[in-house]
Amino acid sequence: MVGLNRRFLIGDFRGAFVVEGKGKNPIESIFRLMIKHKFIDGLLTCSKTGDSPKLILKSDEVELPSRNTCFGVNSLLKRAIQKYRFSRLAVYAPACTFDGLNKTQYFGIGCNWTKTAISLKVGFLCPGLLTENGFTAEVSDITGKPGKVERFYFDRGELFYLLEDGSSVKVSPSIHHHYINSACRYCLNMAAKGTDITCVSLKEEDKVLFIVRSERGWSTLAHLQKVSPGEVLFRKADGELLTSVENFLREKILLNIADIVERVELGLPVPKWNDNKLRKFYRIWNSVDVNFEEEVF
């Protein structure tokens, strides 16, 4: 049986920090510094609104998606690697993008020599992606009138939207689950486990929770602090913050699991060649002694 514990929900990590950017978004500051000091030669991500993929080459052009929408990032991989011939690329995206990227790296499918071209993967904790119309419908559902979402953040284990008019809206997981992209309803990796660092956006715009997973993520941040100390401040995250993130993930993932179980029980089709990943999960979910860490969903 799968236990919905921290290891399953957030995954393994080396350390968690609250990162403060002195009035600026600390992730953006970090990428700016990385480009400036030539740690990376490009940053692959989405536009601020999240609807179009973007390849950022200059430090003053760094701008990251601030909403939980980020589509098509990998469609620029070939341009970045095969055309521009970048060999130290950073990617900022949700977990699903890294599923594609990790696969491209591992098998070599899709884009030539991706394995050696990526130098940092930063994922963001994603409650489920929405299109522009999805946002409109969701906000109308909650507030009774359409509104434009500026950014999303987590506060005390709840998901919030900051709207264009400055007001904040609490989004309940069940409503959010209704409007998100279908594939996100079967997602079991909201915390972007296959990355170097996972970012969780917090209420204050200049604060972000960093969950540092890999040695590479760790040493990159350490190196960055060495070359420009004081640009961003790191403070060890307290257990309470991590627990609140975990609580949100648990609440949302239960909805996802219910959908998966329903899909398998109804015998709805699964895609070609996937070796029945949903059925595999179903079996594990219902069995007593399977080591889930070795499985990938």
């Binding site: 070939k78 341009r79 095969q82 055309k83 521009y84 011939r85 030539n112």
Partner: protein
């Protein structure tokens, strides 16, 4: 004693081909070279398709000189539909064509390296050197064309992606280094070729013929009159069993066989005096690599290519005009001819590839050579059989 020898499959060449030889006392009196790869029907499968799809499909005729078919194809369609192409796009296409020339000629050196280097260790060392230059040619193909093999960026009306200045500089800054490497491998190649000729007891005029030469341009390709081509069917000249198997046409120009390729370009545009024989063919092909790399540098340095390079006009024609696209491929002149209707659909497609033109040249060169050495003639022409049986 007179006998007929039929060889099937020529090792160290691309594809599956055959030789029909009439041999008198060990010397070839008459020989015919032909393709044995089944016809894939690229000319007929394109009929009824949107002409903008043609480069994507025709580039898949060949995996060795891929982009040359895409270029010939788009040029034919642009000619038929009267589409103007931005001059920078034409230049980039020329660069792609030259890059594939280097890429492919060096592949030929790798293919025949077993002949040149009896020692496997030396052979691998040579391949390693050549691969470095091929890697650079691959980089040019990949950055400008989109992929190394089967470039998707060559479109009807231009090139779909501009070449940013910083990417161009990445190519240019490596060029001089690569030229030096190529020169070094060229000297080694020349030396080993001499050794091979000595080892096999071949003379300088081995494989000489008296055919005229055909080429349209030293680098890119100029339009020609398609009416000059006529085609001999294998059924007309081959014997019973082979009639039903040979899969190439034998094109003739003004009713006569010609040789096309590196020697033809050297003779017609660089005032080269041919000695005859196939050894010089190897050397001229290797010389073309150096020229091609220099020309790539010249073109890229001549201007900027980071603007719009694609005229997106929808192709349309009267269904009568024969559009002709010519590209000087590694092996010679590659010609595509197309007719398209008002809606832009292809209603006629004809492809003449250089290897097809050279079938008769190879056959002529076989005359008078010892039957045991015929494979060296075939290899010298670097035939691309899959192109021939498109």
């Amino acid at each position: 004693m007179r006998k007929v020898v039929k060889l099937e499959g020529i090792p160290l060449t691309e594809g599956h081909s055959g030789l029909y030889l009439e041999v008198e006392d060990g010397i070839v009196e008459r020989g015919i070279y032909y393709a044995l790869v089944p016809v894939r029907g690229f000319e007929t499968l394109l009929l009824g398709k949107d002409s903008r799809v043609a480069p994507t499909i025709t580039t898949r005729i060949c995996g060795l000189c891929q982009v040359t078919h895409a270029i010939a194809s788009v040029r034919a369609i642009e000619d038929a539909a009267g589409i103007e192409v931005p001059p920078e796009a034409e230049k980039l296409r020329e660069v792609l064509g030259l890059a594939v020339r280097v890429y492919n000629n060096l592949l030929h050196q790798i293919i025949i390296s077993e002949d040149l280097f009896p020692e496997k260790k030396e052979q691998l060392g040579f391949i390693r050197e050549v691969q470095e230059v091929r890697k650079f040619a691959g980089m040019v193909l990949e950055t400008i064309g989109g992929e190394i093999i089967h470039s998707p960026n060559v479109k009807v009306g231009g090139i779909s992606e501009p070449l940013e200045e910083f990417v161009k500089d990445k190519i240019l800054c490596r060029l001089s280094d690569i030229l030096l490497k190529l020169q070094a491998s060229f000297s080694l190649f020349r030396e080993k070729l001499d050794d091979l000729w000595k080892r096999e007891g071949l003379d300088e005029e081995f494989g000489k013929h008296n055919l005229s030469f055909f080429a349209t341009d030293p680098y890119y390709g100029k339009k020609i009159d398609f009416e000059r081509f006529s085609f001999v069917l294998p059924q007309e000249i081959l014997e019973a069993g082979l009639k039903r198997r040979a899969s190439n046409l034998f094109p003739v120009i003004d009713g006569k066989p010609f040789e096309t390729g590196p020697r033809a370009r050297a003779v017609l545009f660089r005032g080269y005096k041919p000695k005859g024989g196939v050894k010089e063919l190897h050397l001229l092909r290797a010389q073309e690599n150096l020229d091609a790399l220099k020309r790539i540098g010249e073109i890229l340095e001549s201007g900027r290519f980071d603007g719009e390079l694609w005229n997106r006009k929808t192709p349309s024609s009267d269904g009568e005009t024969l559009g002709i696209g010519v590209h000087e491929a590694p092996r010679g002149t590659n010609v595509h001819a197309v007719k398209i209707d008002k809606s832009g659909k292809i209603i006629y497609y004809k492809i003449v590839v250089p290897t097809e033109i050279n079938f008769f040249a190879v056959s002529e060169a076989l005359r008078g050579v010892p039957a045991t050495k015929v494979e060296f003639i075939v290899r010298a022409y670097d035939p691309c059989i899959v192109c021939a049986a498109h």
